[in-house]
């Protein structure tokens, strides 16, 4: 699982430093979707993190008010 998380994190970082720079900041949330995903992949198991990330990105559209939405804490 750790390997998958590491892979996901490096993919997200690559995304931030390539695609993320071509397009201007456009996230309706704080923290931004990619930072949220990073946080989630650091603290949760892969499939849960996947779920949180997808849910967040789908919400990040013009029909959602957006706002402050921190990454969920791990329930241990």
């Amino acid at each position: 699982m750790k390997v998958l998380n590491f892979l996901a994190i490096s993919l997200i970082k690559t995304f931030q430093y390539t695609v993320g720079l071509i397009f201007p900041n456009s996230c309706r949330f704080y923290p931004s979707c990619s930072n949220y995903a990073l946080e989630v992949f650091k603290n949760h198991r892969f499939y849960n993190a996947m779920y949180y990330t997808i849910k967040r990105v789908l919400r990040c559209n013009p029909f959602c008010p957006g706002g402050y939405d921190p990454a969920p804490k791990r329930k241990d």
Binding site: Y17, T18, V19, L21, I22, F23, P24, N25, S26, C27, R28, F29, Y30, P31, S32, C33, S34, V57, L58, C60, N61, P62, F63, C64, P65, G66, G67, Y68, D69
Partner: protein
């Protein structure tokens, strides 16, 4: 940006610059290693029908070397599309295939695209295993005649003409082998009928191989592109097998079952064997030949196993990888074209289709690109700019945001968080969201694929110095090569980077110093990376940036008066109050 990240960037840069030298250092060792593996492999497989040696070699010629005509003659068949030189050796093997609609370099009609490499000799032959177990290549000189035409050495076909040439190899008493080739004036297809019934008593099994040995010639000035896209393919059981080969290595793929076709391709052209009935199997073999520098020629051999018991018909396609033409063959040969992975494929196909349709109206692909980028921009604008911004509300909270900045001058995170909270409370948000951006990515990716690989853009000129949209728009070449950048100085990448910097400035996306520095670093990196990309892609990218600048300057997202969202509880409360009043 702090010291550590600067150090990191510098290190990455040094690695990128020095990597090629490192590869050159280690490549000598690996090459000698792989040479020995080839030798051992070919020893091990030399008894097989298709030994792994990639280059045609002298083989045991049988049935009887005194067979056939004494002298080989050449026959030239020419139409509007091609000029094919055949030899009576091997019963109509191909010596040269020139495609008349495509020239090697821009504006030079004398150097046409040639598919069969000169080094290949006679690539198109018939091979079988004889009763002694030896592999036999039919490279005798056949006798030839033309069906309902006089026997000549050169034929010119009009667009609706067809020509059938018949090659026969006979013993004193009987016909051993017979191959007929039918050419059509308006098609890249050649119909081929092979009848080996006279040789069956000498064959170990009821099958023979139709071969193409020696690979395809590279056609593009940018050898790296041809190197990247050259592959061998086979289609069986609804799946396309793709065989590639790395420098100094060999590779192979075999399948002893129903095969729909086999094909070799370069970046833009292909030669394919298309049997009318599924063939008995195939074998693909890849090897490489070093060219100058780190370039190499990929040499693929393909063998299609056909039944010898009955006369078999196999069409041969010599021509461009042009989607419409391949699709019209109705054998799924278009599957060897690059359209990206399955999710992107429909998008890139749609783009290609709209490119071709637009090109009918505007006969210059540069202008087509411009119109296309405007259309894409119009199409994407509602995605990115559905703004729920209400001007009044924004003005109302503006002083609060300023107050926040004064309150936490050293804590940008806190400012951001609080600003977002404010936006939410007031039901406004100036951002478009991440989902619309992510939806754009497949579109850009599909465009990238189209620009790089479709033959329609090959040598398509635009204006001024842009003479080929599928290649970099070089204005002069440096005497030395810069890693990643190459040795060509191109104009469009410079324009692209300038437009990107302006666009970033105007959009004001970056606020803090660290982000700004990173952005500069990335922009420079892109400049290096994009330098060798097709000028069409750089043109599109520049246009897209310019359009974004114009849009931000002259068409800012219109304020849409919208009431702040009330939460459901409040609405419920109001409804309850109303109902109380009523009763």
């Amino acid at each position: 940006m702090d010291r550590k990240s600067i150090l990191g960037f510098v290190l990455i840069f040094i690695i990128i610059i020095t990597l090629p030298f490192y590869y050159r250092l280690i490549s000598h060792q690996t090459q000698s290693e792989s040479d020995t593996t080839i030798a051992t492999k070919s020893l091990a497989t030399s008894k097989l029908a298709n030994p792994i040696t990639p280059f045609p070699e002298p083989e045991a010629t049988a049935p009887n070397s005194s067979l056939g005509e004494p002298v080989a003659t050449d026959i030239v068949v020419e139409s509007e599309l091609f000029k094919i030189t055949l030899s009576t050796k091997g019963g109509g093997t191909v010596k040269r295939v020139l495609l008349k609609k495509y020239s090697k370099t821009i504006g030079n009609d004398s150097a046409l695209v040639e598919l069969a490499p000169a080094s290949a000799g006679y690539p198109l032959l018939i091979k079988y295993i004889d009763i002694k177990g030896d592999s036999v290549k039919l490279d005798h000189n056949f006798a030839f005649s033309a069906l309902s035409h006089p026997t000549k050495n050169a034929y010119v076909l009009n667009s609706d003409d067809s020509l059938t040439l018949i090659f026969t190899l006979s013993d004193r008493s009987q016909t051993l082998a017979k191959r007929s080739l039918t050419f059509y004036g308006n098609s890249y297809l050649v119909d081929q009928q092979i009848d080996l019934s006279g040789l069956r008593s000498q064959m170990a099994s009821d099958q023979f191989d139709l071969t193409w040995e020696g690979g395809l010639a590279y056609t593009e000035p940018l050898i790296k592109d041809d190197m990247l896209y050259s592959k061998a393919h086979a289609y069986s059981g609804g799946e396309v097998e793709g065989l590639d080969v790395k420098a100094g290595k060999t590779s192979q793929s075999r399948f002893p079952g129903a095969t729909n076709w086999t094909a070799l391709r370069t970046k833009y052209f292909t030669v394919a064997f298309l049997p009318t009935q599924p063939a008995l199997g195939y074998s693909l073999i890849g090897a490489t030949k070093p060219l100058s520098g780190r370039d190499f020629q990929k040499v693929f051999n393909m063998y299609l196993t056909l039944p010898a018991s009955k006369a078999s018909t196999t069409r041969i396609y010599f021509g461009p990888l042009d989607y419409k033409t391949l699709k019209s063959l109705n054998v799924d040969l278009e599957n060897i074209m690059n359209f990206g992975f399955s999710l992107i494929r429909p998008i890139s196909k749609f783009f290609l289709w709209s490119f071709i349709e637009l090109h009918r109206l505007i006969p210059n692909y540069g202008w087509v690109l411009i119109i296309f980028s405007i259309l894409i921009k119009i199409f994407l604008t509602p995605l990115t700019n559905i703004s729920t911004r209400s001007m009044k509300e924004m003005q109302k909270i503006q002083p609060q945001i300023i107050a926040l900045r004064e309150k936490y001058p050293n804590d940008p995170q806190k400012i951001n968080a609080e600003t977002m909270r404010l936006y939410r409370e007031h039901g406004v948000n100036p951002m478009g969201g991440c989902l619309p951006i992510l939806l754009q990515l497949p579109i850009l990716w599909a465009l990238f694929i189209i620009f790089r690989t479709t033959i329609e853009l090959r040598q398509a000129a635009f204006i001024f110095w842009i003479r080929d949209l599928s290649a970099p728009d070089t204005i002069f070449t440096l005497p030395f090569s810069i890693p990643l950048y190459g040795n060509q100085v191109n104009v469009l990448p410079v324009l692209m980077v300038i437009s990107q910097i302006i666009q970033q400035k105007i959009s004001g996306a970056t606020t803090n110093q660290q982000q700004k520095l990173t952005m500069w670093m990335m922009t420079i990196f892109f400049f290096f990376l994009f330098n060798q990309f097709p000028s069409g892609l750089n043109l599109y990218y520049t246009l897209f940036n310019i359009l974004a600048i114009l849009q931000q300057k002259y068409f800012p997202p219109k304020p849409k008066p919208q009431k702040p969202r009330k939460n459901t509880k409040e609405i419920l409360r109001q409804l309850q109050q109303r109902s109380r009043r009523r009763y």
